[in-house]
Symmetry: C2
Subunit: 352 residues, 2 copies
Amino acid sequence: MKTIQAATYPVHFHAKSYLELSNLIAKKNYSTIFILVDENTIEHCYPKFIPNLSTNKRIEVIEIESGEINKNIETCIGVWNAITELGGDRKSILITLGGGVITDLGGFVASCFKRGIDFVNIPTTLLSMVDASVGGKTGVDLGVLKNQIGLFANPEMVLVDTTYLETVEEREIKSGTAEIIKYGITYDVKLFNEIRSNKNLKISDLIYRSIEIKNEVVLQDPKEKGLRKILNFGHTLGHAIESFYLESEDKENLTHGEAIAIGMVCECYMSSKLLDFPAKKVAEVKEVVVSIYTKTNLLKEDFTAIMDLLKHDKKNVNGQVNFVLLKDFEDFKLDCKVSDELIIESMAFYNS
Amino acid sequence: MKTIQAATYPVHFHAKSYLELSNLIAKKNYSTIFILVDENTIEHCYPKFIPNLSTNKRIEVIEIESGEINKNIETCIGVWNAITELGGDRKSILITLGGGVITDLGGFVASCFKRGIDFVNIPTTLLSMVDASVGGKTGVDLGVLKNQIGLFANPEMVLVDTTYLETVEEREIKSGTAEIIKYGITYDVKLFNEIRSNKNLKISDLIYRSIEIKNEVVLQDPKEKGLRKILNFGHTLGHAIESFYLESEDKENLTHGEAIAIGMVCECYMSSKLLDFPAKKVAEVKEVVVSIYTKTNLLKEDFTAIMDLLKHDKKNVNGQVNFVLLKDFEDFKLDCKVSDELIIESMAFYNS
């Protein structure tokens, strides 16, 4: 597959990507190669990765615990201490090998270590391949607030090898699928219809197309002043729902994609009420979401807590929640204000 | 005094600076103005500052504890939580009002909050006026390792009002003087001789000249690939000495300037042994340092611990300590390797 050129760095695919990484390491003459993994990727991905890396540089592996709950500053401090103790310096490079937690946190860790060392992302989950792999967003959560602390920082290179997906669970694949649906709804209805019809789907093609779309959007608006906000479709309410389940001790966590899928249904519903987005299309989106994901029942007594979290979304300005809503597929309106009543109504609609 | 134009932002002086700040706030239409202070600057500087600020925006004050010991990620987490609880959003601005701890930490906090909000620095100590005010370095310590975590990030504006110096102690003024001496030795021997002769010294002129010098250096080499390393003169060993005293519970801490002054004497001595820097000039530097600062007696039994800290300096590459040394005043050599024996000898020279 052809390399995609992102802002300041290439996204390479499959066999070629390993050659390019080995070339980069030789060219930049790094002092030490740090590889950030979790307990899953050290077991399932690292053994696939390491034989492909051709270098005589010192390699040090740093392992953190998997899970969104560990995507926080405390974990960063652990990694910074580990790099320090292992003699990391300004000519070190950090390779992230894992899902979005590893790539987002690793990019942030690298960008702040001694005011910035190089890093390379190797996403190993569908979600991180289609979402975190391009765009330059790095960061960690602050308490339950997602990505509250972070930076825009670009890796030297991104490597996409879809064979890593063999190592992840079905539920994770579904989580990533929510982002592909989002690209379809907001930017490429052909892609959405392919998923709806559920035929001729080759995952590596869906990934490639998703990265192309995200890259097109990000290149036009790297700092999220306008167009890029469409990538937040479904995420405004979805993040609040995700945070709520994360902090509720008596409830099973939702995956990012499960939460965002609910968010997309709700935000389609809001769109239909405020921007005449066709009700038929709301139904199509809901049908696809319900067909892929186990239906979550949002409890009425939880709505207030979800609304509170929504009001802390980092994209809010002056305490005002801003939604990206749809006039139609591929046609959006930024910075929409939605009444609390309609937001609650949309969650009831998802439940119905 | 004439505004100095730094990389992407102006450094304004005295009365004009407050007008410019009020204009900036009006123009950018910030949602909330956060002011970061410590227990000293809230008492002594804030009452001088706030009547000069002309705005109807919401103002929130966040106070942290003073001292290098609090320049760490834990304090950042506290500030991030405070900003979050006070409803900070992407259109918020953070004004730092304090010494180097406040400006370095505040710049880092702002740059990472929701992937970056604007900040303005108002240095209130001599050290922060002549050193931290320009250059784009932000950061915090990791354990005893100084500035291990941080970023290059530029403020919107820097305000220098030397009347804040009336609020700080004599020992702090001396601490900042070490940086002025450094500019003199490495870049402008006329400035050094003014300090030596100790006549006609107007502090605001010394500050202005120091900022000019630092700005000239930083504009030529923002990311410290070459020339900017001269600003580390005295700091390589000086930082290790500062860290050592900071972590020794039975010893009184040194100020940054006190430690750097010792570092400059030692590094002049190394320069004389390795680069034929004239012995007479080593003596001049030592004489100035000893005349300004209380002589510290570096204990022989502490040399090993100081050497260990030196080897963790963030500027090291491949575990190799790199010094900036002098061939003459205003004439330096970067990336000098120095034997452990000579480093120890230089500390003994300082003691002698």
